[in-house]
């Protein structure tokens, strides 16, 4: 189906089905009626927000539209093509994110811009590509569509960062499709720093070929109501998908993470490590579904979700779901909701560290465990700084 027809069909689907309700299994814990009943405008203005470029290559969007003035991707290393999704075409757009929900279908129908990245076979891109989405129009909806394709034995690092103006109420609805060919590697980070009164929804879909690696670190600080839908499709032997994440929530924030890892073929690994720290009346949902299909022998799948509640009113729903149809597999999952480890606090004290500092160190350590395996040093340091900043605010 060509893109025009796909978009018409998505618009029809969206019109027919509308937004999901909490009666649907996948949306049981997350009520999106606040988004469904809101009116969004098409108002546009340039953004007043600032950002910190992580490295030389940046792709900057102001209120949903690419800003070539603020971006820096004119001089690129050999083997990579970057541009607006409105200018560059690939027949695979829309084939992974094929309208499972109103968020995907409305995005497919209405997307107004987004990033297109293609890395050719064998190209290894050292500089991380920093995608920055700035939002400061009150009442607007931003449907952003990203497409990342990495060829055989090629590599790229992409950091998607969403930054919003504090106090602004708007809706970010993003879809990112990632295709990783055989032996390819994509190291992907998502930093969500939307306004505390915004709505943020993203569907991230990745398809991996043989011996391909897709690594994703999703760190969430912002939005009043938000959700990450992450779907990994392991379609070639020897593929590896790493989906780690951290959500730091306070006030009345609600954030939902749904991961679906689809092991279709033998000898693939998937690792999911998710941590959450919740204060005040914040609420988190973590749902990790791992499907091991009949042929997917020798699958190695690990999932763990740990939560730290700083307030009695904070709440977490964590739901591991393993569906295993093969018999020679290794699948483990674990979920914890708890307090800081008292023995660790005592250990720090016996080394001279007072309980207040010890508490802060252990809280940081709890969160930072998801960053232990991060390959991109620039992203690691940047995210660690943001985590420290958040923790400092909460402890005040």
């Amino acid at each position: 189906m060509d893109l025009k027809k796909l978009r018409e069909k998505a618009a029809a689907d969206f019109k027919a089905n509308g937004f999901p309700t909490t009666k649907e299994e996948l949306w049981r814990f997350t009520d999106v009626s606040r988004v469904a009943t809101a009116e969004f405008s098409n108002d546009w203005k340039p953004s007043d927000l600032t950002f910190r470029a992580l490295d030389k290559i940046t792709v900057v969007f102001e209120n949903g539209k690419l800003s070539r003035e603020k971006s820096n991707f004119t001089e690129l290393p050999e083997g990579i093509c970057i541009g607006s999704i409105l200018d560059l075409v690939d027949p695979r757009i829309g084939t992974l994110a094929d309208a499972q929900s109103a968020f995907v279908s409305s995005n497919t129908a209405f997307f107004a811009d987004g990033t297109f990245i293609e890395v050719t076979d064998g190209a290894k891109i050292d500089t991380p590509i920093h995608l920055i989405y700035l939002a400061d129009v009150d009442g607007a909806a931003f449907h952003l569509r990203n497409f990342i394709s990495v060829g055989k034995d090629a590599q790229v690092t992409v950091v998607e960062e969403y930054i919003g103006q504090s106090g602004a109420t708007y809706w970010t609805n993003a879809v990112t499709e990632v295709f990783v060919a055989d032996q390819g590697a994509v190291d992907h980070y998502k930093v969500q720093r939307e306004s505390e009164s915004s709505f943020h929804f993203q569907t991230l879909e990745a398809q991996l070929g043989a011996d391909a690696v897709f690594s994703n670190h999703a760190v969430t600080f912002g939005s009043a109501l938000g959700r990450n839908d992450i779907r990994g499709k392991l379609t070639g032997e020897g593929g590896e998908a790493i989906c780690n994440g951290l959500y730091l929530l306070k006030d009345k924030q609600v954030f939902d993470t749904h991961i679906f890892m689809d092991h279709a073929v033998p000898k693939c690994n998937s690792h999911e490590l998710y941590k959450g720290i919740l204060d005040d009346k914040a609420r988190a949902v973590f749902c990790g579904r791992i499907l091991v299909q009949k042929d997917a022998q020798q699958t190695d799948a690990i999932q763990s979700n740990g939560n730290l509640l700083l307030s009695r009113a904070a709440k977490v729903n964590t739901l591991p779901q393993l569906e295993i149809y093969a018999d020679d597999v290794k699948c483990t999952h674990g979920a914890t909701i708890g307090q800081l480890d008292e023995t660790a606090l005592y250990y720090l004290q016996t080394r001279g560290i007072d309980p207040v500092q010890g508490h802060a160190m252990l809280t940081f350590a709890f969160a930072n465990e998801v960053m232990d395996e991060v390959k991109c040093k620039i992203a690691k340091v940047y995210i660690e700084d943001l985590v420290h900043e958040w923790l400092d605010q909460v402890s005040k």
Partner: protein, 249 residues
């Protein structure tokens, strides 16, 4: 002045009396060993000294460097120069060993009114102390004790002790779970830290460790009380005869 003076110490865990009147004096430069069977109160003694709140001191007095340690919380005891090497060092994912050590060294220096170490001076200190316990650099970059072998954890304890330069080092069954090579490295580390103004309390079940860390005094702890004290030859006696004659009483 004595470095550590324990007078008629009674302590309990969850309302169960464990220590029943301990008297012990350690002078600067001395190495004391406390030997005892399982359940005699060895670990309770080290935890009470270090200030673990799960352990309650019910009677008696402990003076550290002349100061009553009831007045000091666990971190203040550490800052005042007491160091406990754990029997089971705690794993802390998410904090690198280096970050942890820098926080500890600077907390102690702050308490003692000494200038904080900057990154360069800290690294110089690490390089100097690394040699004492032959600890690998990659272990220092990893999360605290996470995925370390038993020997690596114990070596890390001694390395921390070297970095913090305490007045009193308490080794709580540091030999447990170590093979002979690891034991020798750990003991060499401790011996390198012996000095005329530093004292040690070595707590152990077995005599083996005392072949390498030779004590000045040996005390036998049974059922919460010191039943016999003597010189290093007492450890050998225990090796031959075991604890049976005391436990039976």
């Amino acid at each position: 002045m004595a470095l550590l003076e324990i007078k008629d110490l009674h302590a309990s865990v969850a309302d169960k009396p464990i220590l029943k009147g301990i008297n012990l004096t350690i002078k600067p430069g001395e190495v004391h060993a406390i030997m005892g069977p399982n359940g005699s109160g060895k670990s309770t003694l080290s935890n009470v000294l270090a200030g673990n709140e799960a352990y309650t001191k019910t009677a008696g007095q402990i003076l550290f460097d002349g100061q009553d340690i009831d007045e000091l919380a666990a971190h203040e005891r550490a800052c005042a120069g007491m160091f406990l090497a754990f029997q089971y060092p705690v794993e802390i994912a998410g904090i690198s060993n280096m970050y942890f050590l820098k926080a500890a060294v600077n907390a102690v220096r702050k308490y003692q009114g000494i200038d904080q170490l900057d990154a360069m001076d800290f690294l110089d200190l690490v390089e100097e102390k690394k040699k004492i316990v032959k600890i690998r650099s990659d272990l220092l970059e990893r999360a605290v004790n996470s995925g370390f072998s038993g020997g690596e954890k114990k070596r890390n304890e001694i390395f921390q002790m070297a970095m913090l330069e305490p007045k009193l080092g308490i080794l709580d069954e540091t030999d447990s779970g170590l093979d002979i090579d690891a034991l020798r490295i750990v003991a060499d580390g401790v011996n390198a830290l012996r000095s005329p103004d530093r004292g040690f309390l070595v707590i152990t079940h077995y005599q083996r460790l005392l072949d390498y860390i030779v004590p000045d005094h040996v005390h036998v702890l049974v059922n919460g009380q010191i039943v016999k004290s003597g010189g290093k030859e007492l450890a050998l006696e225990l090796e031959d005869e075991g604890y049976a004659s005391w436990v039976a009483e």
